[in-house]
């Protein structure tokens, strides 16, 4: 029997039991849908994090509280010993390999303009953050070091804060309130990704004064060349150890943190993929179950086909093709649904279906069809024509 004819026969057999064929495919549909969706969402998170860190650049060194990368970050911040004087210390002692240094304080606070309130990130820092973060001041201006020293009550707003508080109006010259303090908006920063856009940039000394703080969250150093990062890390550690113990601070590069986050996400991806793989396996078992039922139901048909000239090979191939059709069609539907789900979450994370996930999902569903279809097919092909014809 020609392959095309066998394919037609298999399609007809599946169409005879449409509901059952669909329910059998459902296992594979769910399996492939979960694999594709999970992989694309994790990929989306990876894209997001990579974007955030690439905004910082590969020549960035970060000083954070002790234990931030090894222990519990919340404890690290509660026992934080980093202060603005350490920023001054680094500013004075760093070598010429360091291009710019900026300290930062991050606070989550409600900002209010007239009746509108928006939960934003107060980002207390110096003017050098403009170079380090490659910020684009699109309206007004950024505050100066003199304003910082003078603890001036001025702020520069991220694009999302502008949108939420002012809509399409220009905020320049307007006054916003954070807690009981009032600040004048002197500039705005162009959009640079979600974690940047909800920031309210404020001179660091103003921040310390307004919110009565002594500690800073981190210090960011930008090196002249990416190759200087390791030297600057060592140099920074030596400088800070003049005033702090080794455990009181952590110095790391943006590359380090990106690598470790990517490692974690890869592990999460593998873990989720394995769970989704199990559902695909269950789908495969479902196919095998139904194919075995189908072989029993169609025993007389098998006997008849053999009596009319079908070989065991013809019969086996017909059942394998039926099983492969079920799993591959299920795989394609699952892939389509996964793609739609990816499309639906794109407004939250930049999720995308990587090409290897498509190959993996379709390859896996094809394998499931062949592996789980072979046993029923062999069962069918081995049927004795006489016994099969007599089967009630």
């Amino acid at each position: 029997m020609h392959l095309l004819e066998t394919l037609k026969t298999a399609i007809n057999a599946l169409l005879l039991n449409k509901a059952r064929s669909f329910l059998t495919m459902l296992g594979v549909i769910i399996g492939v849908f979960s694999v594709v969706t999970l992989v694309s969402v994790v990929q989306g998170f990876q894209n997001y994090i990579t974007d955030q860190f690439s905004a910082l650049g590969s020549n960035t060194v970060i000083v954070g509280p002790g234990g931030i990368t090894t222990g519990d970050p919340s404890k690290a911040y509660s026992s934080n010993k980093l202060e603005n004087k350490h920023y001054d210390l680094l500013k004075l002692n760093s070598s010429d390999k360091v291009l710019a240094i900026a300290p930062s304080i991050r606070l989550s606070k409600d900002a209010t303009y007239k009746t509108k309130t928006y939960l934003s990130t107060i980002f207390g820092t110096t003017q050098s953050v403009v170079d380090i973060g490659a910020l684009n001041v699109d309206k007004g201006r950024f505050y100066t070091d003199a304003e910082d020293t003078a603890k001036a009550r001025v702020v520069v707003l991220g694009s999302e804060v502008v949108k939420q508080l002012f809509g399409t109006r220009s905020p320049i010259g307007e006054r916003i309130k954070v807690e009981k303090e009032t600040f004048q908006v002197i500039g705005t920063v162009a959009s640079k990704g979600s974690s940047f856009d909800d920031r309210i940039y404020m001179p660091i000394k103003t921040t310390e004064n307004a919110f009565n703080l002594t500690n800073i969250s981190s210090i960011v150093l930008k090196t002249k060349n990416a190759g200087d990062v390791d030297t600057v890390i060592k140099e920074t550690e030596l400088i800070l150890m003049k005033d702090l113990k080794k455990d009181d601070f952590t110095v790391f590069s943006s590359k380090d943190i990106l690598t470790s986050i990517n490692n974690i996400l890869s592990m999460v991806s593998v873990g989720l993929g394995a769970i989704a793989g199990i559902s695909l396996l269950v789908g495969g078992i479902g196919i095998m179950n139904i194919m075995l039922v189908s072989v029993t139901e169609r025993t007389r048909e098998i006997g008849l086909r053999k009596a009319l000239g079908a070989t065991s090979g013809n019969i086996g191939l017909q059942f394998v093709i039926e099983s492969v059709l079920l799993s591959v069609l299920g795989g394609l539907v699952g892939l389509g649904l996964g793609w739609l789900a990816t499309f639906a979450v794109q407004s939250f994370v930049r999720a995308e279906v990587p090409w290897w996930a498509i190959v993996l999902a379709l390859g896996f569903s094809l394998t499931v069809g062949v592996v789980f279809g072979t046993y029923p097919a062999v069962n069918a092909s081995k049927k004795d024509p006489i016994e099969a014809l007599r089967f009630e």
């Binding site: 020609h2 004819e5 026969t9 009319l308 070989t311 090979g313």
Partner: protein, 224 residues
Amino acid sequence: MSAIIQATEVYKIYDLGEERIEALKGVSVLINQGEFVAIVGKSGSGKSTLMHILGLLDTPSSGEVIINGTNTKGLKEKQLAKVRNNEIGFVFQSFNLLQRTSVLDNVMLPLKYSNVPASKWMDKTMEMIKLVGLENRIHNKSNELSGGQKQRVAIARALVNDPALIMADEPTGNLDSKTGDEIVKKFLDLNAQGKTIILVTHDEDLAKIAQRRIVMHDGCVVEN
């Protein structure tokens, strides 16, 4: 007249552990081209076993069967399937049509396992459907047909590959007498056109239509 079937000293023994059943005990039969032969016998006489062996659906424990000049002894499963497809057309008591499948597809089925080019399938199928007078029902599903129509589809299917012989196992067993007579007439017509027909039945009256009777009893041919 040339021999279509030549079976020599055919034994069929079922070894069921403690019990050993000899279903055929050295049966030899010769059936010539164009004959209408009835194999008759009571239930358990071995007539169905003989038909299965002559139809290559089963293999003998010993002895040989030559079909249209091909000695089937030692043939592999694939080769046996080819001989079945080319040389034998089966008509069963319970019709054995593919369920919920059209008359056209049921009749065409043997062609799909043959070496006949696909371009000729439709013409050959339609020719046989016309022969059994079902050309107005080609798209009807098998479950939409009466018993007599089903058996006519089965006859068309048995003829579509132009086999050397037709084997019919109790072909009127599931039909009322009027429809049964129509089917009998169809077999007589086919025989008149030169087809070799082997009819297996326990019905002595039906067997009378054949030119020759092979009577089986207890695994042996007692009248030939």
